[in-house]
C-alpha cells in the first residue's frame, strides 16, 4: 500500500528536480494532446521547443525569446515576493495595462517634442501607475481586511475596460483616420523603447528584468525584509511574534509587484507592441503566475522559467503557422504545465512509502 509521509523539511533535491520532471511530463501529456488533435506529437513538440532555438530561422526567433521573456520575468519576480508571504496578487494583468496606459499617456503628451528625459519619465510614470493600481487591493486589505485575490482580479476587468475607453478616446491617434489605437511609438524616437543592440531583442525591459532578478535575489537571500517575507509565508504567527508588521509587508509586496507589472506594461507598449490598442495585452500577467511557480518563487528559477515560457509562446506561434496547431492548444499546454508541477510537488513535501496495510 502507498503511504504518504510528511517530510520534516522540503526535499532540496526535489525542489529543483520537480520543475524539470514537470516539464518532461507536460511534454508527454502535451504530445498526447497534439496527437489527439491529429498532429504528429514528436514533430509538434520539436517545433515548439527545438525550432526557435536551433531551427532554420533561429536567428530570428532567439531575440524574440528575450522580448517575450522579459515581461514574464519582470511580473513574475514581483508576484513571487507576495506568493512567498501568502499575499496573492493575481491582478498583475490589470497593473500591466495601467502601467502601459499611464506611461504611454505621458509620452504622448510630449509629442512631438524631442528630449532625452521623455522615455525615463515614461518609465517612472509607468511603474507609478502599476504601483497605484496595486495599492487599491493593498490598502483595502490593510484597512478593511478585504480579500486581495478577488479585488486585484476584479480590477483586471476594470483595467481592460479603461484600456478600451482610452484606445478609442483620449489616447486615440489624432492622425489615425479614425482607427482605434494611439500613435505608434516607433515613429516617435524620444519615447520609443528601441533595441539597445540591433537584432538582439535586448530592449530596456530586458535590462529591467535582469536588474529585478538581481535585486530580488539579494532581497530574499540577504535582506531582513526578504527574511520577513519568507517567515510570514511559513509561519505567520511566529512572524508576528518576531515583530513583523503584516500591513507593511502587504503594502510592500503588492506595491512592488504592481510597480514591476506596470514597468513590464510600459516597456511592452512603447517597444514590441508599439502602440496602445484595445488588445495589446496578451495575458502576460496571468502566464507570469505559472512562471513564478515554475521558477519555485526563486529569482534565478523565475528567469529560467520565464525563458522557457517565452519559448512555448514562440514555438507555439511557429507550430500554429507550420502545423496548423490552434493557439488555444498552447494556452492549454501552459496551463497543463502548472497542473503537473503542482502534482509533482507532492514529492518535495512528502515521502512516498510502500507499506503493508496494518491492522489497527
Amino acid at each position: 500500500m502507498l503511504k504518504l509521509e510528511k517530510r520534516p523539511q522540503p526535499s532540496r533535491l526535489w525542489t529543483w528536480a520537480a520543475p524539470l520532471l514537470a516539464v518532461v511530463l507536460t511534454m508527454l501529456l502535451g504530445g498526447a494532446l497534439f496527437a489527439a488533435l491529429g498532429k504528429d506529437p514528436v514533430e509538434a513538440i520539436a517545433t515548439i521547443f527545438w525550432q526557435p532555438l536551433f531551427g532554420e530561422h533561429a536567428f530570428y526567433y532567439r531575440p524574440q525569446l528575450l522580448v517575450k521573456g522579459a515581461p514574464l520575468v519582470l511580473i513574475a519576480i514581483g508576484l513571487a515576493l507576495g506568493f512567498k508571504a501568502g499575499i496573492w496578487n493575481i491582478g498583475a494583468e490589470g497593473q500591466y495595462i495601467i502601467g502601459a496606459l499611464t506611461g504611454a499617456a505621458v509620452g504622448l503628451a510630449f509629442y512631438p517634442l524631442d528630449a532625452w528625459y521623455i522615455f525615463p519619465l515614461m518609465v517612472m510614470v509607468g511603474a507609478l501607475g502599476g504601483w497605484l493600481w496595486a495599492m487599491i487591493p493593498a490598502l483595502l486589505r490593510v484597512q478593511f481586511g478585504t480579500n486581495e485575490i478577488l479585488v486585484s482580479l476584479m480590477l483586471v476587468y476594470v483595467a481592460e475596460q479603461l484600456l478600451a475607453a482610452m484606445a478609442l478616446g483620449p489616447l486615440k491617434n489624432p492622425d489615425g483616420y479614425g482607427f482605434p489605437g494611439s500613435r505608434n511609438f516607433q515613429e516617435y524616437p524620444a519615447a520609443h523603447n528601441a533595441e539597445i543592440l540591433g537584432g538582439t531583442g535586448m530592449h530596456w525591459g530586458v535590462v529591467a528584468a535582469l536588474i529585478a532578478v538581481i535585486f530580488a535575489y539579494i532581497l530574499l537571500g540577504r535582506h531582513i525584509l526578504g527574511y520577513q517575507i519568507r517567515l510570514t509565508g511559513q509561519a505567520p504567527r511566529a512572524a508576528r511574534f518576531a515583530g513583523v508588521s503584516p500591513p507593511r509587508l502587504i503594502l510592500f509586496c503588492l506595491g512592488t509587484s504592481g510597480a514591476l507589472a506596470g514597468l513590464a506594461g510600459l516597456f511592452e507598449v512603447s517597444g514590441p507592441a508599439g502602440q496602445v490598442s484595445i488588445d495589446f495585452n496578451v495575458g502576460y500577467g496571468f502566464t507570469a503566475i505559472i512562471v513564478a511557480f515554475l521558477g519555485r518563487l526563486h529569482p534565478v528559477g523565475i528567469a529560467l522559467a520565464g525563458l522557457l515560457m517565452a519559448l512555448t509562446y514562440i514555438g507555439g506561434e511557429i507550430a500554429q503557422s507550420n502545423l496548423g496547431l490552434p493557439s488555444a492548444a498552447i494556452q492549454m499546454f501552459q496551463g497543463m504545465l502548472l497542473f503537473v508541477l503542482l502534482a509533482v510537488d507532492l514529492l518535495t513535501n512528502y515521502r512516498i512509502r510502500f507499506k503493508a496495510a496494518q491492522v489497527a
Binding site: L4, E5, I290, P326, F339
Partner: protein
C-alpha cells in the same frame, strides 16, 4: 439619455435571468467552501461548462442534454482540482488558479468551429394564469426552467446545510477537519464530493450563459462571472439565502448598466461595463468591514498523518 425607455417590469424580469448563472455557480462554490475547500477555479469550470453544454446542445439539438453535459464537464474539470488538493495535497490557491488558466485554454480549444452558431432554444415555462398577472407575471412566472432550478437549488442547499445529517457532516469537515476525522468521517471523501458538486454547478452556470443568456459561443465569454460568484460567497458570509440576495444585486447592476447603454447614456459604454466589477469590490469592502466568519478549515490542507 432616455430613461423613460427603461421598463421596470422588463428590468426586474431580466434581473432574474442575469442573476441565475452566478447564483448557480456561487451555490456550488458555497458548498465546497463550507466543506473547507477554496476552489478558485470557478471561472475555468464555468467556461468549460459553457462550451461543453453548448457543443452538446448544438450536436443533439436538446438543451437538456446540453445542461447535463455542462454539469459533467464542470465536474470533470473539478476532478483535476480534487486530485491536486486532496490526493496530491497541493496548495489550494495555486491549484485553483491553475484550473482557471487550464479551463480557459481547454474551452478555447473545444470551442473551435462553434463560433457564430445559434444553440437550440430552451423552452420558457409559461404558466397559464400566473404568467398573465400584470407586472408580477413576467417578473416571476415567465422564465425558462433554469431560473426556477436556480431558486430550487438555493432552497435545497440551504435546507441541506441547515437540517440534514449530511449537511452537518459537511460543515463539521469544513470547520475542523481534524475533529471530523477523529469522529470517523471521511474528510477527503466528503471534500471530493463537495468539489464535484461545485464543479457541476459552475458548469451549469456557464452553460446558462452560453445557451440561454447570450446565447452563442465566444472565447472567454464568462468574462469574470466565475470570480463574481466567488465574491458572492464571501458577500453572503457563507449562507445560501444571502447568496440569492447577492446574485439579485449583481444581476440588477448588470441589467441596469446594459439598459443604460441601450438608452444612450452620456457615459461611454466602457465605463458602464466596469460597474459590475466595481460594485463587487465595493460590496466586498463593506462586507469585510464587519468581519464575516469563514469556515475555520477553509483552504487548509488535510493529511491524516498524525
Amino acid at each position: 439619455m432616455d430613461l423613460g425607455s427603461i421598463n421596470p417590469v422588463l428590468l426586474l424580469a431580466s434581473l432574474m435571468v442575469a442573476a441565475t448563472p452566478i447564483l448557480i455557480a456561487a451555490l456550488g462554490e458555497l458548498v465546497a467552501e463550507r466543506a473547507g475547500v477554496l476552489n478558485l477555479g470557478v471561472e475555468g469550470m464555468m467556461i468549460t461548462g459553457a462550451i461543453c453544454g453548448f457543443a452538446a446542445a448544438v450536436n443533439t439539438g436538446s438543451p437538456l442534454v446540453g445542461f447535463i453535459a455542462a454539469a459533467l464537464g464542470g465536474a470533470g474539470l473539478s476532478l483535476l482540482f480534487a486530485f491536486l488538493t486532496q490526493i496530491a495535497l497541493a496548495n489550494q490557491v495555486a491549484s485553483g488558479l491553475a484550473l482557471t488558466l487550464f479551463g480557459l485554454g481547454l474551452s478555447a480549444l473545444l470551442g473551435q468551429g462553434y463560433q457564430g452558431i445559434k444553440p437550440p432554444p430552451t423552452g420558457k415555462l409559461d404558466i397559464p394564469l400566473l404568467g398573465d398577472i400584470p407586472g408580477l407575471g413576467p417578473v416571476l412566472f415567465g422564465h425558462d426552467i433554469m431560473v426556477y432550478f436556480g431558486l430550487g437549488l438555493c432552497a435545497a442547499v440551504w435546507g441541506m446545510l441547515k437540517y440534514t445529517r449530511a449537511g452537518l457532516i459537511l460543515r463539521a469537515v469544513g470547520e475542523n477537519h481534524d475533529a471530523a476525522h477523529a469522529l470517523g468521517y471521511k474528510v477527503v471523501r466528503v471534500r471530493i464530493l463537495a468539489i464535484l458538486f461545485g464543479g457541476a454547478c459552475a458548469g451549469l452556470g456557464g452553460a446558462y450563459i452560453s445557451l440561454i443568456r447570450v446565447p452563442q459561443w465566444t472565447e472567454g465569454m464568462t468574462a469574470g462571472a466565475g470570480w463574481i460568484a466567488l465574491a458572492l460567497v464571501v458577500f453572503a458570509s457563507w449562507k445560501a439565502g444571502r447568496v440569492l440576495l447577492g446574485a439579485w444585486l449583481f444581476g440588477g447592476v448588470t441589467v441596469l448598466q446594459l439598459n443604460l447603454q441601450a438608452a444612450g447614456s452620456a457615459l461611454p459604454v466602457e465605463y458602464l461595463s466596469m460597474s459590475p466589477y466595481l460594485i463587487t469590490i465595493l460590496v466586498l469592502v463593506i462586507m469585510s468591514a464587519d468581519k464575516p466568519r469563514a469556515p475555520a478549515s477553509l483552504g487548509r490542507i488535510f493529511h491524516a498523518s498524525q
